[in-house]
Every structure is written in C-alpha cells, then in structure tokens.
Symmetry: C2
Subunit: 118 residues, 2 copies
C-alpha cells in the first residue's frame, strides 16, 4: 500500500480511514458476527461490493482471517486476529466520543459483554 | 448529514471516517498549524480542493472555527474548538496503534507538548 508519510495517524488512516472498515470490525468484535449475510444485515446496509472489498483488505492487513464453515467450502466465516483485536481501544474511544458528542446515538448491547470489554 | 444508523461508531465515521479529516485535525491539535498554506505543507500533501472541503466540514461540525488573521480578510486561521479537542483521545489511540502495529511509523514531536498531552 502506498503510504502518504511515516506519521502513525496517516498510516493508520491509510488502512482504516473510511466509513465502512470499522463498521465491519465492530460487527466482528462487538456483535460476534462472522458471516457475509450477517454483515449485510446490519442497519447500515453495506453493499455487497464494498463488503467484499473491506473483508479482503482486512484479511490482507492481518486483522481478520477467514475459514470455511459447514461443508460448503464457499461459505466463509470471518473472525478477528489478535492484531485485529488490538483495534478495540480505538473503537471504544469512538463509541465514547459518539455517545458524548452526537445526538441520538445509542450503544447496543453486544450478545455477550466479553468481546466489548476485551 | 444523512446517518446510516444510530450507532455511535457509524455516526462518528460519517463525520471523520476518511483519510484526511483527522490528518488536518492532527495538524491543528498536535502541530499548532492554523493556516491553509501550513496544512498544504504537511508531508501528506493534501490537495487544495480536499483541504477546502475538510475545513468546511470540520467547521460545520463545530470542531474548528476560523477567523481572519492580519489585515487581509481573506486569510483565515483555523483553530480547534473545545468540541474539536475532545477528539484528542481518539487521535492518541490511533498514534499508539500505528506505532505498535505499522512498520516504520514515527511520532514527530509537536512544537510544544501542551496540546499533545491536553
């Protein structure tokens, strides 16, 4: 990937600086979603081509891995790597900031509190 | 602004989820830059049209304010509002994450440590 400078902010944004990447990671890390259809089902209504692109980029950056589930080899389940989980503090800061500064935002409870507190 | 959901992550990304907004805020908050030419001079080499757009959005969101400097009324200086400064914890998490996870990134010392620690 071409980087714009050696600034850690600029380089991190080269990776996650868009409207969708962290929404997909949110689903994986906080809502334990793992399957393509589950991501499509989120309220933001990501399009299939953007979702395919972001999953590919997240995998290429070592932030998620995919593995086939059930016997259908084309059906993939996506999970966060340890490196992917290191983004949780950034996501939590964003949640806090949004709740404090943007009207009518609501934090939904994840299915279990384990990942959100991890 | 159209929001995609009431999720604080999604709504925050509607505002700052791109490659440039936080780079401009970095310059204002950590490097005490305030003038159009100073932003253009940063190593990422933002283009004038993107810079104009992001300054306009940041101002519209109440994160920065502009005021004329010297006697030339078209020359504006941009500074962060209190609301803009509340993004410092997110920026700091991004700096930490980049330094820990992305090779060959370097944190530059700001002119004074006041804003970076604020």
């Amino acid at each position: 990937m071409l980087r714009r400078s050696d600034c850690p902010i600029s380089c991190t944004l080269d990776l996650i600086g868009d409207k969708w990447t962290l929404v997909v990671l949110r689903d994986i890390l906080f809502f334990q979603k793992s399957r393509f259809d589950e991501f499509l089902d989120s309220p933001e209504k990501i399009s299939t081509n953007i979702l395919t692109d972001r999953l590919h980029k997240l995998e290429g950056a070592g932030l998620i891995v995919k593995a086939p589930y059930s016997n259908h080899r084309l059906r993939m389940a996506y999970t966060a790597t340890e490196k992917g989980r290191t983004l949780i503090p950034i996501l939590k800061q964003i949640v806090e900031w949004g709740l404090a500064n943007l009207e009518d935002t609501k934090a939904k409870s994840p299915p279990t509190s384990e990942n959100a507190n991890g």
